[in-house]
């Protein structure tokens, strides 16, 4: 899951990026609008964490959200801001924000909201996903097969998470590359490699091959 954090204060961005990375999210940081546009052009994030006051202006975050929604961005937006006035919250939510967290906040609350917003993307609303012998704890970022924990790398987990969040959906190879390995030179091969590894670690049926892509197979 790709999370784009737009925050101009480095001392705040760093711990957020670290805990996001620890929980196996693909977290990228933009410290101003210019960098945010560059990252957005690269790959669409599953969640946009957006500071409202940016170097470009006191409402730059709101303006970016508005622009993205107008352009058709449909994934979640979490506003992260020092402005907690009711009218600011209303404005943020009306502009297409999905949640609003005012500074200062507790880092565990931040992570809980990130998880909740990402779960909202798919039909899987629970923090724990269970199907057959597979159990995925999306909050603790752990995977169990027949009640035994299976250690996964960050990218393996990210791929599995994407599939279980929308278990009925088919993901085309191009989309998986764009969402999981936007910077990879040979993305298709990388995705195939990760699919193989997951099938090895869990069971061959876990991921089903369909023409042009993959879907969850259990």
């Amino acid at each position: 899951m790709r999370v784009l954090l737009v925050e101009d204060h480095q001392d705040l961005a760093r711990p957020l990026l670290r805990v996001l990375a620890q929980d196996r999210y693909d977290a990228v940081w933009a410290k101003n609008l210019r960098e945010a546009y560059a990252h957005l052009a690269e790959a669409e994030p599953d969640l946009l964490v957006l500071d409202v006051m940016l170097p470009e202006g006191e409402d730059a975050g709101f303006e970016l959200a508005d622009e993205l929604r107008t352009a058709g961005y449909s994934k979640s937006i979490l506003f992260l801001t020092a402005r907690d006035a009711v009218e600011d919250r209303i404005r943020g939510l009306d502009l297409g924000g999905d949640d609003y967290l005012s500074k200062p906040f507790d880092i565990s609350e931040f992570m809980a909201r990130v998880r909740a917003l990402l779960r909202r993307e798919g039909p899987t609303k629970n923090a724990v996903f269970e199907r057959g012998a597979l159990q995925v704890n999306l909050a603790l970022r752990q995977v169990f097969w027949s009640e035994h924990e299976v250690p996964l790398t960050n990218k393996e987990f990210a791929l599995l998470e994407l599939l279980v969040l929308q278990p009925e959906r088919v993901y085309y190879l191009e989309e998986l590359v764009e969402r999981l390995f936007p910077q990879a030179d040979s993305g298709f091969i990388t995705v195939r490699m990760y699919v193989m590894r997951l099938r090895d670690k869990l069971s061959p049926q876990t991921i089903q091959t369909v023409p042009g892509g993959y879907r969850f197979g259990l």
Binding site: P15, V19, Q22, M53, T81, R83, D106
Partner: protein, 411 residues
Amino acid sequence: MDFRNRLLVGLLVLALGTAGWQLGLGYWSFKDSLDKDLQGDLAKYMTLTEAALDLEGPYPTLDSAKLPSTSELQGRIRLSKEGQVLLEVGGPFPGINPDWLRHTRNLPTGHVLEVALSQRDHNLALRDYLRASMVSLLFSLVFAILLAILLRRYLMRPLQSLESATESLARAHFPEPLPIFGRDELARLTGSFNRMVGKLRRAMEREKSFTRYASHELRTPLAAVKANLGAARQGVVTSDELIQVVENNLTQMENTLNGLLALARGLGKPSPVQISIFLEELAETLPEAAQKRVCINAPAITLELPREALAGTVRNLLENALKYSQDTVYLTLVKGDPFHLVVRDFGPGVPQETLKRLTEPFFRVHPDLPGTGLGLTYARQVAEALGGNLELRNHPEGGFEATLVLGVPRA
């Protein structure tokens, strides 16, 4: 009773009073002239009667040829002596009766001559007059009420809109500018009300923006410290990193708080300040490397100034110059009226389009560099409070120049 109704009632009472007064005055003058006529007639009648009276004979007689017809005049005459009626003409002599006006005269012969004239017609005419006046008063009343209502509407229209606008202002909703009719006092009042609302709105917006920025500047470092603590607890931030973050952000919060407090505190009392010594002492509080780059050129004059506020201001200007340039910074006091304190550096200056925004609270040309964005706001506030101003410009020969114009008298 509200103002409108008081005005309405006042107008009505005024209209009624005027109409009543006119009616009373008309009635009185009509009655007076009728009374005078009648009295005149009566006196004349008495004189004629007296002349027509013949008291020579054994019985008194009246020569009716010398009198106007009694039926025409509806006059009555009675002659009596020692309580005995001797002669009665025109009918029985009336007693005390409002329809009759009577006159009595004692004749030298001992006779009492009484004459009376009917004032029935006279009273009827007065009654008619009164009735007609009452009807006209009633019409006047109705007319006055209608007029008062119309007037009230016409006069109250601007007041009503002012009232509702003031009410909405009191509930902190800014009303739209009110339309101005005419050029009278109400129009002027409406105009100044509109201006007041405009000024209030701008002041509130400035205040809101200031609070937004202040809250951002204080909460962001707080959020950074809190997030780093949380991350450190999860083991993804080392204690060295945490200490560094806490140190940086505490300093930033402290600087912002100091800047905000300086803005809120005001100037303090002016005292005599010997400028050249003051500037030298100020430069000595800078770090050593910075001290070497400051070149002071000020005459030994003494001005009446608030020392702390001036020190804060000059220090802000000097620190900016030292931060954004590498070479010598010149600090010069130019004598004149008013005095100019000029801080000049030879750095890159600022983008021309940001010049006007430099003194806005929390505005920073380089948000990446440390700073609070409050220094120049404070400098401008101090300069303006001293009756001067702060002039900022990119020097035509390169570098940046900040001029503090000091509108203060020599001590």
